[in-house]
Symmetry: C2
Subunit: 189 residues, 2 copies
């Protein structure tokens, strides 16, 4: 379990076994049932979550009462509400398990302490942030330039296995179309 994480970290920085042990000591494992929430609307987010198995979604409820999914997170992704976490403001985003999910929790206070103990973790999280940002940029570009139909077809082509894993109405929300329209698009060849 933690071995997977070690490999993941070593993709980005050199870290000794002993340093990794220190890092690990700051993490706690959480097991979530389907639909269990890690972050509730109104609460201030206090931690980052590294997903070891399963799938999370980050979403909010809009004025019309509809769920809007901003992100999904799967194995080997970090997920949190950065705005709430770093600016210490109540979250209107919800983090919830789409399926049975296991995460490693890294509390933000612990992380600040960790930065002091092992300064190179600063580098690690810089790199993670850069990569997260790039992924988001690509997504914006994708959604800017295409119609709903192209977004939908492009997404299932690029992520066929993931599409199988989540309910269709969640995919629709993530892609920014209604479930009915998605259903309509599925039919058309």
């Amino acid at each position: 379990m933690d071995d997977n994480l070690l490999q993941y970290i070593r993709r980005y920085i050199d870290i000794s076994d002993s340093e990794f042990l220190v890092f690990s000591s700051y993490l706690s494992t959480l097991n979530l049932k389907k639909r269990e929430q890690l972050l509730r609307s109104g609460d201030i987010c206090r931690a980052r979550y590294f997903i070891t198995s399963g799938c999370l979604r980050l979403y909010y409820i809009d004025q019309k009462g509809h769920e809007q999914i901003m992100h999904f997170g799967i194995e080997n992704w970090w997920l949190t509400n950065y705005d709430s976490l770093l600016n210490k403001i109540p979250s209107h985003l919800i983090i919830e398990a789409v399926e049975k999910t296991q995460v490693l929790e890294l509390k933000e206070v612990s992380l600040q302490e960790l930065y002091r103990k092992i300064p190179k973790m600063e580098r690690f999280f810089r790199i993670i942030m850069e990569r997260t940002y790039i992924a988001t940029q690509r997504r914006i570009e994708f959604m800017y330039s295409m119609s709903g139909e192209e977004i939908f077809k492009g997404f299932i082509d690029a992520n066929p296995e993931f599409v199988q894993r989540i309910p269709q109405y969640m995919l629709a929300s993530y892609l920014g179309i209604t479930p009915e329209y998605l259903s309509f698009l599925r039919k058309t060849p």
Copy 2:
């Protein structure tokens, strides 16, 4: 000029005058005329740009030949194509001056050297990245939950002075609507 930058950096990290001098030595000042390009389509992006005055836009040309503006940058913002910069791939995004603009150029190779000399710059750019990401997240959320009309009205309410500064067709592109539709929305009360 550089004093403004120093203040800006000290908002996020403690940095001594001498450390700042080292940092400054890695920067070069560039002056751009309106429409001059900092990054051309097809080139690999090699630097980050800190805008000291003026306005840049980051955009691409879509399949239909239309400009799609992903971002604007104004005073005290960093702008670059992170995907091209960090993954060393040719950029299809263009960075161009909307008006007469002055930037400080920080080459990526220099930055890697700087991280070694002054490790706390690692922290600085981590924080900048986090803030940049949060700004983008907020924007996605904004655009997800609203119609074109609401996006437009919300944006001019939030950024009245900026709206004055750029041509309307650029604003339309940034907001993801056609200039004709924007023009139509402006009339309706």
